[in-house]
């Protein structure tokens, strides 16, 4: 039964990588800045999921800390970019 799980994990990884590529396409196409920001949001989240899949497939726990860090920094960067688009400045006096 391990083969079934391995194929499912491989399928999920390929789906996440394909989703990353599509988000990258939207980031290049995006007519406005907010489109690029939401594409970046999708991109880092799919990267985090790919890293989690790598952790599942190699049954190692190091990847979860990395995934948590990616989620943290991605959230901070998306918030900073959205704040910049809204106010023209990230940290206001």
């Amino acid at each position: 039964m391990n083969a079934v799980f391995d194929y499912a994990a491989l399928f999920a990884s390929l789906c996440f990588v394909l989703a990353m590529l599509l988000a990258l396409l939207r980031m290049f196409l995006g007519p406005a800045a907010q489109d690029r920001v939401i594409a970046l949001d999708t991109f880092y989240l799919n990267g985090m999921l790919t890293l989690l899949m790598l952790g599942i497939r190699s049954s190692s726990t190091v990847y979860f800390e990395m995934a948590l860090l990616i989620a943290l920094f991605g959230f901070a960067s998306t918030i900073a970019l959205a704040k910049f688009l809204l106010r023209g400045e990230v940290i206001e006096p």
Binding site: F5, L18, A19, R26, D35, I38, L52, S58, A82, L86
Partner: protein, 137 residues
Amino acid sequence: MNGVELPLWVTIPGSLLLVAAGLLTLIGAIGLVRLPDFFMRMHPPTMGTTLGTGCVLIASMLVSSAIEGRPIIHELLITLFIVITAPVTAMLLMRAALFREERKGEGTAARLAPGGAPAREAGDAPRFADSLDKRDE
């Protein structure tokens, strides 16, 4: 899987969850590319953000618990973080997009009107962008 034989109660739900997560995330990304408007494009990626991440993390919890032989739930930390931060990101981005489109004169009312943006007069209701500009006065 490094030679570790997974039991049946992990393999079947884990595989189903992983396949579901991959399909949901991929459909979300396709929607992100194909939909014509920014406010429509806000919606599809959230499917992968919430449901896809949840499925992957539950599958990960199952697998690592089966390998270690004891319940491991530290993936809940990532789930909690994603569930808390996704609405915050979406709301801030939505506000930024509304503000920018209204300032450009291409707001929702302008796009829905057949003859383009209606002319603004002195007695009109204040725009959303104006309220943002005057917020800290």
